[in-house]
Symmetry: C2
Subunit: 385 residues, 2 copies
């Protein structure tokens, strides 16, 4: 057992002779059959895992950062060595998710995975939705409760969710996607206006990781989304995580649970450990992820219905000017209403569009911002589900 501080009191206590500060000694020890990596970070974790796998030792890891950055290499080493590389704890904490995707759904042609995979942001959005608090107030409460780190950037900017989306793309689609490749929008720009508008329009705002089959490849993205209030993901509250899976035979599935925390993570690691031990005793080929040449489709190709808020001058002809811009870019309006709580500068218009191409929507936003009747172009939030 390699630890940083062997002198620290542990519960339950470990015999001193089992402790070392040298993780290399653990992976090369011939009496060690199986390695559990919960140190985190890219290095030295990567090198240690590679050495263990090459020595024929199954590895259980919770290291989402490493898998999202160097998964392809690790899966290849595990496959070549014929030993298990298991990582249930890396996505969704204690939620059994990786094993069901790899084994239970092995016969399913999964089409889309839509996940709430970051508990901090889900807590913040839940508080904003249910208590009407601002982003700042909700984040302060998340900190008080220990759900947010001192620097929450990785959570609120979607980096954490992007890493998990990349891992899900590897597991469910065999796509060699890295976290850094994932299109990513965070929640810091969301305001009480959007939250209230969502409620009025029958939606709940969630930060989603979406992985879906698209154009002969896979599309992977993380962004806030308007989720219909009666969709199973809409009722996933507080720091819970949930992953919604769609396939032609199985229909719709959802896995919900605590996505982080020491105990849920430990539960997932222990399940993997028992599985790896069983497989090791059975002596068969290990299970790992097989990656293929599955291309990542660019966000430009996305076609999605959207919510859009605009602060406009409160005078005749505004709607005509705005709808002119939308029409010119082939953005068709499903519903429009004037916010009963207007903005400071005039009126606020809330649009929900029919599915529209991302590039048209972005061009539309640029042109809208140049209209002199438009005071401010608010958030564009995609409708999912």
């Amino acid at each position: 057992v390699a630890v940083r501080h062997p002198e620290r009191r542990r519960e339950p206590a470990l015999p001193a002779e089992l402790l070392t500060t040298d993780p290399g000694a653990v992976v090369t020890d011939p009496t060690v059959d199986l390695v559990v990596e919960v140190m985190g970070g890219l290095d030295p974790a990567r090198g240690l895992i590679v050495r263990a796998l090459k020595a024929g030792k199954p590895v259980v890891t919770a290291n989402k950062e490493l898998l999202a950055a160097r998964g392809a290499e690790l899966f290849e080493v595990a496959g070549a060595a014929g030993v298990d590389l298991l990582f249930e704890a890396a996505v969704g904490g204690g939620i059994p998710l990786i094993r069901p995707l790899r084994e239970s759904l092995a016969g399913e042609d999964v089409r889309r995975i839509t996940g709430i995979v970051n508990g901090t942001t889900n807590f913040v959005l839940t508080r904003m939705t249910e208590d009407g608090t601002s982003y700042e107030e909700a984040m302060a409460e998340a900190r008080r409760r220990g759900y947010a780190e001192a620097d929450p950037t990785a959570d609120v900017e979607g980096w954490d969710a992007a890493a998990k989306a990349a891992i899900l793309a590897s597991v469910a689609f065999g796509a060699p996607i890295r976290g850094a490749d994932v299109h990513r929008e965070g929640i810091t720009a969301l305001g009480a206006v959007d939250i209230a508008a969502a409620r009025r329009l029958g939606f709940v705002i969630k930060l989603l990781a979406v992985v879906e089959a698209a154009g002969g490849g896979v599309a992977v993205r993380v962004h806030p989304a308007m989720v219909p209030a009666d969709h199973p993901l809409a009722s996933v509250r507080d720091s819970f995580n949930a992953v919604f899976v769609e396939g032609p035979a199985v229909g719709e599935l959802m896995f919900l649970g605590r996505g982080a925390g020491g105990s849920p993570t430990a539960s997932a690691v222990l399940g993997d450990l028992l599985d790896a031990a069983h497989n090791l005793r059975a002596g068969g080929p290990g299970r790992t992820v097989q990656l293929h040449d599955v291309p990542l489709r660019p966000i430009d190709e996305l076609v999605s219905a959207c919510y859009l808020s605009l602060e406009v001058a409160d005078r005749p002809g505004v709607l005509h000017a705005v709808t002119g811009v939308l029409g010119r870019h082939q953005v068709s309006i499903r519903s429009m209403e004037q916010d009963p709580e207007p903005g400071e500068a005039g009126a606020r218009l809330l649009f929900v569009t029919h599915p529209a191409a991302e590039r048209d929507l972005q061009a539309c936003l640029r042109d809208l911002s140049e209209l002199d009747v438009v005071r401010r172009v608010g958030n564009l939030i995609r409708v999912v589900g």
Copy 2:
């Protein structure tokens, strides 16, 4: 491939020489490595599965009726033969549930499983809740949509859910429980009054299968329950199934999906088939359920908060008489309100109790029915979650 009607057209078509009407010929055929049983029923399925297992052939089955009645025998035969007996499709259709419980949560000391495991009754209750229809109208719609069989007794009386509860008790607690041993109450007595009262009190009525650690054994029961509206199970709508799992490390988990239908069942069977094939090639010991001497605790020992409705005479002193009976049986009241829509015979009182012992509640019901101010004792519905 043993079928009843070899002449029937199939899609995709199978070569005629692969078809037989003799299932015994399939399980004894030395070229058959692995057997899938989806014929259903107790016999001859039981004998065929036993013969296959004893011949060293892994078996994948979707037969919940058989597992609930004769699971102990089948698990023992599979264990002795050292081959896989997999049955993901038997509970929750396409929802990966059995494998996560057996493998992912192998290290978890599961304390309670609470499931909506019958799609027909969940559809009926959802329609009653959302449309305000009667039980009869909702059941008629379930029939029209193909969610209910001509004779829905097994669904509405809770037999189907009881079989699944027994299987979950085996898998998660190693308890040798049969479906017939499970305490069981159906939904036929539920009325629009209860549904409306539930909504007013902040609950949703669901038919639940509950399996929980209790008194050194396991308690297993199926009954309608008041589920708090913000509980994840409350938002499981229509014919969806969901299973909520609680454990000390993992916290709370929920698995949701389509619990029945040909395609979801096929997806689960195919996942099991691939898993069994992988294990067979690995050549290790098979996985089966290990049963232990875990006693089934009687329903008498249950302690639960309850909802109770009473139709009473509309005159002074009624509440005094009723609360006297409740107090005499140690049933403490958490809330009481008069239904704003009174019954035909006077007033309707709605109680929610604090947790009370089942035997006290039953004694209480008997005494209440003998009070001359009580016109009718309505449904007693346990609060769960």
